[in-house]
Amino acid sequence: METSLEEQFQQKIDQEIKIEPKDWMPEKYRQTLIRQISQHAHSEVVGMLPEGNWITRAPSLRRKAILLAKIQDEAGHGLYLYSAAETLGISRDEMYHQLHAGNAKYSSIFNYPTLTWADMGAIGWLVDGAAIMNQVPLCRTSFGPYARAMVRVCKEESFHQRQGFESLWVLSKGTDEQKRMCQDAINRWWWPCLMMFGPPDDESHNTIQSMQWKIKRFSNDELRQKFVDMIAEQIKILSMKLPDPDLKWNEEKKHYDYGKINWEEFWQVLKGNGPCNKERLDTRKKAWDDGAWVRDAATAYAVKKSNNQLNNSNSVYANLH
């Protein structure tokens, strides 16, 4: 019996055979991936901005070098992901255009401000920690280029989380003021980090299709729970507290229970009403516009050089005859 292309496609997915760019795929699969991968790429790129804010004010040369290296990694992550999206038939310029026009989403977490140096530690430990939770299962996602990009990303993320924790650990052993700063940063970043996993499962019913296509392998709530369990243990080492009076080990479930997330805040930030949405987009657009002359100059130089080469080879050719 003949099987339809759709059925063959699903069979491949069920057998854990990766889908490569030139393989047949349902249009909806392509569109879903373009959106997800490009939004992921935008997040890496915009994610550089809150941290870039502190490069010139890092407390030591060591911390400055680490922060620079981390931010440089994030630029690389953006590039790996944009490249993966391009294999699906969307151009890089088109994706930039979507971002700059305000049509594209990126992770809401980057619309919060970085107020003190301790935020650099909290971002590494909590924000990168949450990102890793999301990203590790994506290393096995069904689209080959996305999976390969994520393997590369995950290898690099581990240092991001470790440097963040180390930085907070130093503060947690410091003066009273440093301890206060550390706790304050944790207080501000904790809830937005829990929102990074997306709305509760009963409100995001469309993950069913993504699960069936094995783009996504765990639900939002499953990943969020894993994250809470991990951080609730790690924070003990810092002798700090998570800002949640309801956080409690549940012996029966073998998981931590946690309090209610303010989803209204989440939807507001997603809609563009977060504390830094406008600033992030403006900064990003300015960087792009300010860089225009560099891009133009490099293009002009490349054209000129290849013309020269062409002329030279023509004259060699003429001499031979």
Binding site: S91, R92, N103
Partner: protein
């Protein structure tokens, strides 16, 4: 409070707008730098292996960017870059026909031959 039912494919990005079809506005500029494929030899004695791609105005810039993006942790001792348009690939639609000649020649594999147990070192 308002209730929201929205699609969420990964994390918290939401999913309004920006699919390729919705956004092929033709609005974006088309003077993109060419795309290059990057191959890296991770150490002496090994083949170059495809690691990814990037945009660059010319070969020199492609090499420098490949170094900055793909070898930040000593992943390579040598880089090749090839402009993507110069790569010719077999078509997945013809996979079955293209590789068919190999599939029915099992005598190319050493295990095809049933030899006496006494025979050593072969």
């Amino acid at each position: 409070m308002q209730t929201f039912i929205r699609k969420m494919f990964y994390g918290d990005y939401g999913e309004e707008k920006n699919t390729a079809s919705e956004s092929s506005s033709g609005n974006a500029s088309t003077n993109e730098w060419p795309l290059w494929e990057v191959f890296i030899r991770s150490k002496q004695g090994l083949d170059h292996k495809h690691v990814g791609s990037l945009h660059a105005a010319d070969a020199v810039m492609a090499l420098e960017n490949a170094r900055d993006v793909y070898t930040r942790r000593g992943e390579g001792v040598s880089i090749w870059i090839v402009e993507s348009k110069n790569i010719h690939a077999s078509s997945p639609d013809e996979t079955a026909a293209l590789f068919e000649p190999a599939n029915d020649k099992i005598y190319r594999h050493p295990s095809f031959y049933d030899l006496p147990d006494e025979l050593k070192h072969m």
